[in-house]
């Protein structure tokens, strides 16, 4: 009877809630896009959005990570820009953090 405990029910509800919310946003965005204006200011907004969202996702983390985090992020960004190699950029950035912590 353990498998039907209230804890399991709440786990199921938590995962289902997150799954439905995420899927609803994904499909909702795709389907609603057809009814959104396709030029002018809105278009410029949509085109700028991918970059600004990704940047907003990481900016506070880098900002609060201090000097080491900043240096590592800068290394990652420079490497990604120069080589276009995501894996190499990530490994370099993590290497800077690991080395910095090891030396500290």
């Amino acid at each position: 009877m353990n498998s039907l405990s209230p804890t399991d029910l709440s786990v199921a509800l938590a995962i289902a809630g997150a799954a439905l919310a995420t899927y609803g946003l994904r499909l909702g965005g795709l389907l609603l896009a057809e009814y959104l204006p396709r030029n002018g200011g809105f278009r410029r907004f949509m085109e700028a959005l991918p970059g600004t969202i990704l940047l907003s996702l990481i900016a506070p983390g880098i900002f609060s990570a201090g000097l080491l985090g900043g240096a590592a992020a800068l290394t990652t960004a420079l490497c990604a820009w120069k080589t276009r190699n995501l894996l190499l950029a990530m490994v370099l950035g993590m290497g800077v953090v690991a080395a910095g912590r090891w030396l500290a």
């Binding site: 994904r26 389907l31 085109e47 991918p50 907003s56 990530m90």
Partner: protein, 267 residues
């Protein structure tokens, strides 16, 4: 009669060719996402370790991977995972942090143009930040299809599940994941992805605005509002008319330049 036979044969051939092309695109998409997949596995394993510490079973984690399939939201969920589970707060947090998926979904509309609702409803579930970014980059430079997007999604979902489950199993072995900078893996991969979104000097003002808004919002507001505030605030900058900017070059030139990436038709 002969003409009819030829006609059906052509239809069959076209369908077969379309299927072959779709499989080829899925393969291409999966391969293109392998490099980013390595970092996905790295921070997936960190999530697995955190989940194991919170007493989440590997089966629950797998269910989360397959049904939610959104890294940052899953990190937030695991962070909030303390019985009795705050289901409503958790769902709201996921809704806020994943609000960008609505915009990501909308940005994929040109790619999905002319596809059936079933095609859209099926493939859109496997859209994560990484395969979306990789697909958008490919779409802008040489064109990409929904098959390419799906291939990336399948590749990343497999890697994500394997990485998180491996982290879950090995959680007890790696006692100090921060020693290997595994906690920085998430920032590192998103930094690299952000750089790939750079469109030139016209991005300076939106990006600076986004960064300032995000840092300020993260500092002053609870939860994950900073993603939405920074993202929308920064993207609104090119919408606001800049008189000094317009004098330097004709409006039509800037308009065509802005319209270039999404104007391209799906091949």
């Amino acid at each position: 009669m002969i003409a009819t036979v030829d006609f059906t044969d052509t239809i069959g051939k076209t369908k077969r060719q379309a299927r072959v092309k779709m499989i080829e695109e899925i393969r291409k998409g999966a391969l293109a996402n392998l490099p980013v997949g390595a970092s996905v596995a790295a921070y997936g394993s960190v999530l697995g370790m955190l989940a194991a510490q919170k007493g989440i079973t590997w089966l629950q984690l797998l269910a989360m991977n397959l049904s939610v399939f959104a890294g940052s939201a899953q990190f937030v969920m695991v962070e909030m995972w303390l019985p009795p589970l705050p289901i409503l707060e958790m769902t709201l947090a996921v809704l806020v942090i994943n609000m960008r998926y609505m915009l990501i979904g909308a940005s994929l509309e040109p790619l999905f143009k002319g596809k059936s609702l079933l095609h859209k409803a099926g493939i859109i579930h496997l859209v994560a930040d990484e395969n979306w970014a990789v697909t958008m980059a490919a779409y802008r430079s040489r064109g990409a299809t929904t098959g390419f997007l799906l291939g990336g999604g399948l590749c990343l979902c497999t890697i994500w599940s394997m990485g998180t489950l491996l982290g879950h199993r090995l959680g007890a072995l790696v006692t100090h994941p921060e020693r290997f900078a595994l906690d920085f893996a998430f920032v590192a991969v998103f930094t690299a992805l952000t750089v790939s979104m750079w469109r030139g000097t016209r991005d300076i003002a939106p990006w600076v605005t986004a960064a300032i808004l995000a840092v300020a919002a993260e500092h002053w507001l609870p939860g994950k509002w900073y993603i939405v505030i920074g993202g929308i605030g920064g993207a609104l900058v090119p919408v606001v008319p800049a008189p000094s900017f317009k004098k330097k070059r004709p409006a039509s030139a800037s308009e065509s330049k802005t319209g270039e990436p999404l104007a391209k038709e799906n091949p």
